[in-house]
């Protein structure tokens, strides 16, 4: 039995290697040989990967569909910006900012962690009642949460500049920052699945009554995962903010939500491998089709401008997956040796 457990623990590690290895190689190759555009695409890929992993940690393990993550991404983005911007930049971009916040400036890493913690705090507060729901009720409630966060971001102009663009962030997020974070979260998600709590959460996904009968406090285990996932998503939002450097609350709404959820659905959210495959596949489709679209428009094949091709292709991919492999490309399987 001891032998088997060694082999098995190697099997678990091999999942991490199989997933992280190619990603690291990809980042290295693009860093050395890729142009600016490719580097930017890959940076965004790793940020999106972090967000899909956040989705995997909560939705994948608990089976509760959540539309809330992009709200947490927004909270992480704005919260980190408030702590990373220089007093001068704040004076320019946020004229009505509370005066005590203006002089505070912390190193980028600290600001990112604050972004994650703020998202986690909000998740902790709203999560306890929310975690009692599952099925359609959870979908509606988390969707409502997304709308509420969006409305608050648009109207709390003291800290967000309202519906207008917030500008003046430093571009701290390099390819290496986002790649390192993405791989760290990859290992975090793999580890979390196998913790006692992760195992309990997966059991509750399969059967709530049986889970309660063996002593699993379903609300508690879901809540912990929800808060952890919000932290991961908040950090991803903070990285994105310092990559794009100017953004408005509109960036944290439906298009981004559907992009991340389509990554999770196409790859299969029940496994970490699925999240990685989904993030890579959707980014490839998205960027590939966008290139085609640009080429068509530049060479003026049609007398009109083609737009929305990426969304159409993504929708078709999602429909095909839902028909042919409803639990995603990988379902609940992990890649392993």
């Amino acid at each position: 039995m001891q032998r088997m457990s060694y082999l098995e623990s190697f099997g678990k590690w091999s999942t991490g290697l199989l997933l992280a290895g190619p990603l690291i190689v990809l980042a290295l190759v693009v860093h050395l040989f890729g142009g600016e555009v490719l580097q930017r695409i890959l940076t965004v890929l790793f940020i999106n990967l972090s967000m899909v992993l956040g989705l995997q940690i909560f939705m994948g393990n608990s089976g509760v569909v959540s539309f809330a993550p992009i709200g947490f991404m927004g909270i992480g983005a704005y919260a980190s910006a408030l702590f990373s911007m220089s007093p001068q930049a704040k004076a320019m971009a946020l004229r009505n900012l509370y005066s005590w916040l203006v002089p505070i400036q912390v190193p980028f890493v600290v600001a990112v962690i604050i972004g994650g913690l703020m998202a986690a705090l909000v998740a902790a507060l709203v999560g306890y009642p929310l975690m009692r729901l599952s099925g359609a009720a959870a979908v509606i409630a988390t969707f409502a949460l997304l709308i509420i966060v969006h409305t608050v971001l648009i109207n709390w102009s003291e800290v967000t500049n309202g519906p207008r663009t917030l500008f003046g962030l430093e571009a701290y997020t390099t390819l290496w920052v986002s790649a390192a974070t993405g791989i760290l979260f990859l290992l975090l998600a793999l580890w979390f699945k196998e913790t006692p709590l992760g195992l309990q959460l997966r059991a509750s996904r399969e059967d709530e009554a049986a889970a309660a009968s063996v002593g699993i406090n379903i609300v508690w285990v879901r809540w912990v995962a929800f808060v952890l996932a919000a932290f991961v998503t908040g950090v991803a939002g903070a990285l994105w903010a310092h990559f794009i450097t100017s953004f408005s609350p509109l960036a944290f709404y439906l298009p981004q939500t559907f992009l991340i959820i389509s990554m999770a659905i196409i790859g299969g959210s029940a496994s970490v491998s699925g999240a990685v495959v989904g993030a890579v596949a959707v980014t490839a489709i998205f960027e590939g089709v966008r290139g085609v679209e640009n080429a068509i428009n530049i060479s003026a094949v049609f007398p009109f401008t083609v737009s929305g091709l990426t969304e159409v292709c993504l929708s078709i991919a999602m429909i095909l997956i839902l028909i042919m492999r409803p639990s995603g490309i990988l379902g609940s399987r992990e890649l392993r040796l």
Binding site: M1, S5, E194, T195, P196, L199, Q200, R202, A203, R205, E206, D207, A209, A210, A211, A212, S213, V214, G215, I216, N217, I218, A270, S332
Partner: protein, 249 residues
Amino acid sequence: MTRDDALTLHIEEITKDFVGLRALEDVTLHLQRGEILGLIGPNGSGKTTLINVVTGFLKPTRGRVRVGEMDITGWPPHRIAHVGLARTFQTIKLFRGLTVLENVEVAAVSAGLPRHRAREQALWALEQVGATRLATVPAGALPYGEERRVEIARALASRPIFLFLDEPAAGLNEQESDALLEMLLPLPREIGCGVLIVDHDMRLIMRLCHRLHVLNYGRTICEGTPAEVRHNPEVIAAYLGTSRRVLPC
């Protein structure tokens, strides 16, 4: 949450009303550690409802459930599980997306063991039910008879002080039912738990149980040793009408 050897489960004057229906009325029974109690009765007599009330899946309209001096009436199921009450379900409920080992391990983990200890205990539980070789199989891929075994292993993995089995022999043939008997008989001695079993398989019940408690229309009609119950006229009437003299088995 002490697991004192002297503990007894007291089910006292339980009444459970559903809308327009009294499922249980003033049912009182006591279950000691180390004994196997059979809960029998015709369909719809309230046996599963009683298990659901005791394990927290239903709240009783009246009455109390105590473990020793601790009143657990109305507690949520997961807290009752932590006291040491484990159960199986009439319609098998496994974690179908997890492996057999994970199914059993999660029960040991939920009883508070760290994962490596939980794994040892899960392997022990699988051995008890003779399902060790299935450890790595996904639970969703099991044949029916094996599902029953795994569900019982899952209930055992938390080392319960009281175990509730809801129709474990349903759908089993005579041979499989005999194997189940072999498996259940030594349990109380080996892990020192009290077992309450609901089943319609009289061959199994009569040979397995130390004591029987008979329900009909939600009320206790008799309690005693298998031999006493088999000759009780009220039980015979409830099961077979009035013409027969003894319950077949």
